[in-house]
Amino acid sequence: MALLEIRNVTKRFGNFTAVDNISIAIKAGEFFTLLGPSGCGKTTLLRMIAGFDAPDGGQILLDGKDLAGLPPEQRPFHTVFQSYALFPHMTVASNIGFPLKMAGKTPAEIKTRVAETLAEVELTPFADRYPHELSGGQKQRVAFARGLINQPRLLLLDEPLGALDEKLRENMQRELIKLQAEAGVTFIYVTHAQNEALALSHRIAVMNQGRIEQIDEPSRIYNFPVNRFVADFIGKINLLSARVLEVSAAHLKLTVTGLGEVTVPVSGHVKAGDEGVFAVRPEQVRIVAQSPEIPIESQLLGKIKDFLYIGDVTTYIIALSNNTLIEALLPNSVPGHAKLFDIGDPVVVSWQEQSAQFLPD
């Protein structure tokens, strides 16, 4: 049985439907992420799980028991807020000990467990400091420690890394994975940062306009997005409008605007005549310089139109002869060369058949 089951949950604010008939089952010990653009309903869903808002329809069940009517303070869930929400008038130790105090633990037990937790998050020397005397990363660790100390059934995290700078965020991501594994607590993580979701989660639910577009493991979300929105939202991707011409056992024959006829592997339930997009990730696109040895026919020819150099990789934008634009991502791994191509270079564009796909609209 799932630890937490969200069953047909809907939430409306006036005429606006923030969460639209969502169902998710979250397993014990899972690191589950709700990913979507701002306003997609992910935070509203999190607030309903925490108990701050009541659903207008549907149920939220813990171990199969409906949580309806149970106030936040009685739910065995704790939240890590985006702004940390540390108590400014309490020391680090008192902040971390707060949930234990509320749970009616004895001062002696609180003292021991706070000391243990402080050691775990390496904040022992900061026990008597106040939140305003801490750095962003330290505040973050206090917030995690406070959320985990009373061993909640679920830890809800609302964009907890949003306020940190990039370098620190990467460190905190690794720390978070470690923390989750050690504590064995189920995490529900809300973010709009797709790279964060991919790096941290066991499973991701991609949300858009109050609905779930896809629930899957990170690698499957990235490699096999079920529709245009997911493909576009997660990572970079070349999308060209296409129509299905023919369906066979293993292949789809498409007519793609700007490319002509293309064959891709079968995915989902599609039939001839379906409209959608042809999709291929930039890192799956191969480009080589044009040369007489390569037969001209059956190849896509183009010129480098522009590029974006970001150190480890360079994104090239190639204009095909009919002015269709394709992006290709190449690692800058050839020693002695800053980049492989320059603007105006004639190139041949190709990709492996399995790396491309058709996504219905």
Partner: protein
């Protein structure tokens, strides 16, 4: 650059500094000096003879007033009574102001501004007029007196007079000083981050615990500054006991006023003032020391 910015600093702070020097420091020094002198035969002060060789005999300087202050228990009693009234007024003001300040701080912006305006509205009319109004409200023929005495009569109790009693003084004190408690409290409560209450609730705190561990400790600086604004003026207040109090309800303020305007014993009046100032300084120090917002869980 360095010198000119320093000059600007001095120019800006000079007028208020001069004001304090002329109208606070100088009178205080004069008062301290006065407290060591002797009263004149017809009021005012007796002349001082500070002449070489004559100092020990009759210089016109004395510590008699201080000896007098500490020798008679009545002054200690009046001080104690004044402190009790001030403390009682402060505590009742906190109890009355807190819920209102909290309500205002947690309501919408429009309602907030309206409420704040209503809180300060009484300042628009003269202080003495408002106190005289209470004389009528508490008077023996007032609706309030009739109502209270009718209720008391039902229970077979003797009628009471509200006016000219410690009760009337307390009512007047609370009425006048309540806004001075509401405003600093509101200013403090309004700054509280509402997410902290969500966080506390999420971490298992019920309504009472959220108040006890989050709202209350964070509001302590507001309570202490409000208390200072109520306690200290009440301590020295003489108009309200004069108008609403009975003959037995004199406070330090009345006593001091009487030394200058009635008995015409300026040195003793000065001594009383100095003792009051010292007491107020002690209280103010205590408040500012207590005003640090700190809470420990363990």
């Amino acid at each position: 650059m360095q010198t000119s910015s320093r000059l600007v600093k001095w120019l800006i702070s000079a007028p208020p500094l001069a004001f304090l020097l002329i109208f606070f420091a100088a009178p205080s020094l004069i008062m301290i000096f006065t407290s060591f002198r002797l009263p004149g035969e017809f009021g005012g002060l007796a002349p001082v003879h500070i002449l070489p060789g004559n100092a020990s005999e009759d210089s016109g300087l004395t510590i008699e007033t201080y000896r007098f202050f500490f020798s008679d228990f009545i002054y200690f009693e009046i001080f104690l009574k004044s402190f009790t009234v001030a403390a009682l007024t402060t505590v009742i003001c906190i109890a009355m102001a807190y819920p209102l300040a909290l309500l205002i701080a947690r309501s919408g912006k429009k309602f907030r501004n309206l409420m704040i305006m209503l809180v300060v509205l009484p300042f628009a009319s003269n202080f003495l007029i408002r106190i005289y109004a209470w004389m009528i409200i508490l008077g023996p023929e007032s609706a309030l007196s009739h109502m209270i005495n009718n209720v008391l009569a039902v229970f077979g109790m003797a009628p009471v007079t509200l006016l000219f009693s410690p009760f009337a003084v307390l009512i007047g004190m609370i009425y006048v000083h309540l806004p001075f408690m509401i405003l600093p409290l509101y200013t403090n409560l309004e700054k509280h981050d509402p997410i902290l209450l969500d966080a506390a609730q999420d971490l298992g705190a019920n309504r009472w615990q959220r108040f006890r561990y989050v709202t209350w400790p964070q509001s302590l600086p507001g309570i202490f500054s409000g208390s200072a604004l109520v306690f200290i003026p009440v301590l020295g207040m003489f108009a309200i006991p004069d108008i609403l109090g009975g003959t037995g309800d004199i406070m330090i303020g009345n006593l001091i006023k009487d030394q200058f305007l009635g008995t015409r014993d300026w040195p003793f009046g000065s001594t009383l003032s100095i003792m009051l100032t010292l007491a107020v300084l002690c209280i103010a120090g205590l408040f500012s020391w207590l005003a640090k917002p700190v809470t420990r869980i363990t």
